[in-house]
């Protein structure tokens, strides 16, 4: 077809332009995904080291200099686990990975609006990852100030501990680069979604996945610039002698620090103004994916599509007004605390809309329990379990007691960490056939699901009780504290569960790479789904549709339409062509 020949960009020929410095959103999506896969392996290993140390603090470790892990090394693990997981896994895979790959296809576009900017986003993200990994090997090692990089600890230098020299500097550089890359990525997503939709693809006909990516991109656009500003000021405090965040009269290790009247709390405000939207950046794509998959395997339309789309927008909007609930213990005015508390709890409303509409979608359905569906159901389960404890923590009086305990760790791991990971798994099993042209193994997928699902609950449910009993987070060695010793059996249970769950991920990795070569060939539409990615080849051609760009005639979830012969109607099927019963 002639229009194919003049498509937006000619097919690259060399290996490097095709797979390394590619401007094709599909290749870039896979690059993001593989980066996240690498990062998650690092992140899991770090968490296993932490779990191991919590239970056997005096164990001899051959790879640690001196043989035993120091408290500072434990804090470095805490910091790097959080940073790598939040930025390079939970932000990178759902948005950079799947968003990049499927947003253009689902709206019927040949590529992102700005393909070269897209490539730049990925490679800057990659540089950021290199910088954070380099923090492990520089003198002093990795930073110890947590993924939140709280000042003044993060603002001074080696004097505050090993890793606070070069390691912390690299951390700031890495995060700043990540901010830049995410800003460019967000800009691209938004412009693509606004201007590149196919004819007939109104906003209210977009799959909910696109709504998730769209609102996530808006959050990224508005939040990452703020963290970037904070990062620059922090870097100046460290290297240029300014005092934005460093207070007067600070004495560390008997040394008076030469700073004048800065505000450590200012950093917390800037950080959490980014940090709270960031948790929605991690979870909103998962919500979109879960809605999409629940509908497909329930063979029913999403219940209350419009409400679902609006709930995503509402969560995104409210997400900018609740950052203070991370700072209830910072000594803020009770009036501020009250306002932040009420706003935080009001997020329960759109969250409940989503949850009940997911249940409404499932109600009375003949559910097909394929692996992507299991992970989508797992997403809903984890989101509810983790979200409920959020209502407790949203109250300053309760938070004051629980803030420094494992209760908070359990809360955010369930609702943000594992739920988002389940969204990523669901997306991987669902879209793998489209991305690689082969099916993943269903039996292995189901084993992976059940081990992971039960495993994560075994890790994080007991953690709530440890928290309520006063188990303090970030302590390297709780066995040294008398009243915490009784909690050690629970810690042992969680550690064993963590090792089993981590081992179960090897099944996923095996399935992923084994299926690349030996999986059954995938058809164009193996799940009988309706959105536009399923009308094209698996994997899609360079311009996604081989020159035949679709027009859209209907909403994204027309399953089991009364009177139609098939139980699904693709979005590009004109009304006249719908096969009818009779």
């Amino acid at each position: 077809m002639s229009s194919h020949a003049q498509s937006a960009h000619a097919a690259p020929t060399g290996f490097i332009s095709k797979y390394i410095f590619s401007t094709d959103h599909k290749v870039i999506g896979i690059q993001y995904f593989l980066l996240a896969l690498t990062a998650v392996v690092v992140g899991i290993v770090l968490s296993l080291l932490m779990r191991f140390h919590l239970v056997w603090p005096n164990a001899h470790l051959p790879f640690v200099s001196g043989g035993m892990m120091t408290q500072e090394q434990y804090l470095a693990l805490v910091t790097m686990h959080g940073t790598i997981m939040v930025f390079f896994v939970l932000t990178t895979a759902p948005q950079g990975g799947f968003g990049n790959y499927f947003l253009p296809i689902q709206i019927g576009a040949p590529d992102m609006a700005f393909p070269r900017l897209n490539m730049l986003s990925f490679w800057v993200t990659f540089l950021a990852f290199v910088a954070i990994i380099a923090a492990f090997v520089v003198p002093g090692g990795a930073p110890i100030s947590g993924w939140t990089g709280y000042t003044p600890l993060s603002g001074i230098g080696e004097v505050t501990g090993p890793g606070e020299g070069w390691g912390q500097t690299l951390w700031i550089i890495s995060i700043s680069l990540f901010c830049l890359a995410s800003l460019l990525g967000a800009l691209n997503f938004i412009a693509t979604l606004i201007d590149m939709r196919a004819p007939g693809m109104t906003l209210m006909r977009m799959p909910l996945t696109c709504w998730g990516w769209f609102v996530t991109a808006i959050l990224g656009l508005l939040a990452f610039g703020v963290l970037l500003a904070g990062g620059i000021l922090l870097l100046l405090d460290r290297s240029a002698g300014t005092s934005f965040f460093l207070p007067y009269g600070l004495v560390i290790n008997d040394q008076l620090q030469n700073h004048s009247g800065g505000s450590p709390l200012l950093w917390q405000h800037l950080f959490w103004f980014f940090g709270h939207p960031e948790v929605y950046i991690a979870i909103l794509p998962g919500m979109g994916v879960a809605s999409h998959i629940l509908s497909t395997f329930a063979r029913k339309p999403v219940y209350g599509y419009r409400a679902m789309a609006m709930a995503i927008c509402a969560i995104g909007f409210l997400g900018f007004m609740v950052w203070g609930h991370h700072m209830f213990v910072s000594g803020m005015s009770p009036y501020s605390g009250f306002a932040f508390s009420v706003l935080t709890m009001s997020i329960g409303v759109p969250s409940a809309i989503k949850t009940f509409n997911w249940l409404g979608t499932l109600w009375g359905a003949k559910i097909q329990f394929k692996t992507p569906m299991l992970f989508a159901l797992g997403f809903v389960s984890l989101f509810v379990s983790g979200g409920l404890s959020g209502l407790f923590l949203a109250q300053p009086a309760v938070d004051n007691l629980l803030h420094a305990t494992y209760y908070v760790v359990a809360h955010f791991h369930l609702v943000m960490g594992v739920a988002a990971i389940f969204g990523i798994f669901a997306a991987t099993y669902f879209w793998y056939p489209k991305m690689f042209g082969r099916m993943m193994s269903e039996p292995l997928g189901k084993i992976h699901f059940w081990l992971t699902f039960v495993g994560t609950y075994c890790i994080f449910m007991p953690m709530h009780f440890v928290g309520i009993a006063g188990g303090i987070r970030r302590y390297a060695d709780a066995s040294a504290v008398a009243y915490l010793q009784k909690l050690q059996p629970l810690h042992e249970f969680m550690t064993i569960a963590a090792f089993i769950t981590a081992a179960a991920q090897l099944i996923f990795i095996f399935n992923f790479f084994w299926s690349l070569k030996f999986g059954a060939k995938a058809s164009k539409n193996p799940w009988d789904a309706t959105s536009l990615e399923w009308i094209t080849d698996s994997p899609p051609p360079l311009d996604n549709f081989g020159g035949n760009f679709p027009s859209v005639y209907r909403g994204p979830y027309e399953f089991s339409v009364p009177g139609a012969k098939e139980d699904f109607i693709p979005q590009n099927l004109p009304p006249a062509q719908v096969a009818r019963t009779r």
């Binding site: 609006a113 300014t242 005639y553 027309e558 009304p575």
Partner: protein, 219 residues
């Protein structure tokens, strides 16, 4: 059934791409997809959209710095010494505001197909931009000569941060002006290129006026 989203109305959609569909589901909230043209090329307005969206991110970056400024200045025991901003800044501000006017003039001549006039005023805009940047460096040198450095006082720290961050953005603007003047455009038409660059330039001008007033009145 409540809550479902079947399309019940048979629709007629204009088969031509790029002209926009005629969706009839009352989707509301945001217009119609009109998508890329048949060749898969990016529509020209996308570049304008991209610039406007990008400036949203830039605005948040500067607003974060501004709110930090306000908070830091309001700290008890802040040891804040109000900074007398160099007088040079008045002249710089005047130059930058003038550059917006020359840019408007240039664009209107462009639309009138007056290539020579367009290039003349476009060139003046670039020159004024460079003058502004040189002026900012002179202002820095005056402060340094007076012994006021980045770390001297929070007020001077913020002064250098604001001017440097804005200056870097303006360097990008000057490069964009030069690029449109001297290099052929590829994906976007010359008209789009001038529009995108002028949106950016006017934004940076307005942002500077805001920062200048903040440094002047909010010191």
């Amino acid at each position: 059934m409540a809550g479902t989203t079947y399309t019940e109305v048979v629709e007629v959609i204009d088969a031509g791409r790029g002209g926009g569909g005629t969706p009839s589901d009352g989707g509301g909230g945001g217009g119609q997809g009109s998508g890329p043209s048949a060749s898969g090329a990016v529509p020209q307005r996308t570049y304008v959209t991209g610039m406007l969206v990008g400036l949203g991110g830039v605005l948040m970056f500067f607003m974060a710095l501004v709110s930090a400024y306000i908070v830091r200045k309001g700290m008890p025991n802040a040891t804040w010494v109000p900074l007398d901003i160099p007088r040079m800044l008045w002249l710089n501000t005047l130059i930058l505001v003038a550059s917006s006017f020359t840019l408007v003039r240039s664009r209107s001549l462009f639309h009138a197909d007056n290539e020579e006039g367009f290039r003349y005023w476009w060139g003046w805009t670039t020159v004024l931009g460079v003058f502004f940047l040189v002026g900012q460096v002179i202002a820095w040198r005056q402060l340094v000569a007076a012994g006021i450095y980045l770390q001297s006082n929070p007020s001077s720290s913020f002064f250098y941060v604001f001017t440097a961050a804005h200056g870097l953005h303006l360097v990008g603007g000057v490069l964009a002006l030069l690029s449109v003047a001297f290099r052929p455009t590829h994906r976007l038409t010359r008209g789009t290129a001038t529009e995108v660059v002028s949106i950016y330039w006017h934004f940076m001008d307005g942002l500077w006026v805001f920062l200048f007033l903040l440094l002047l009145l909010g010191r």
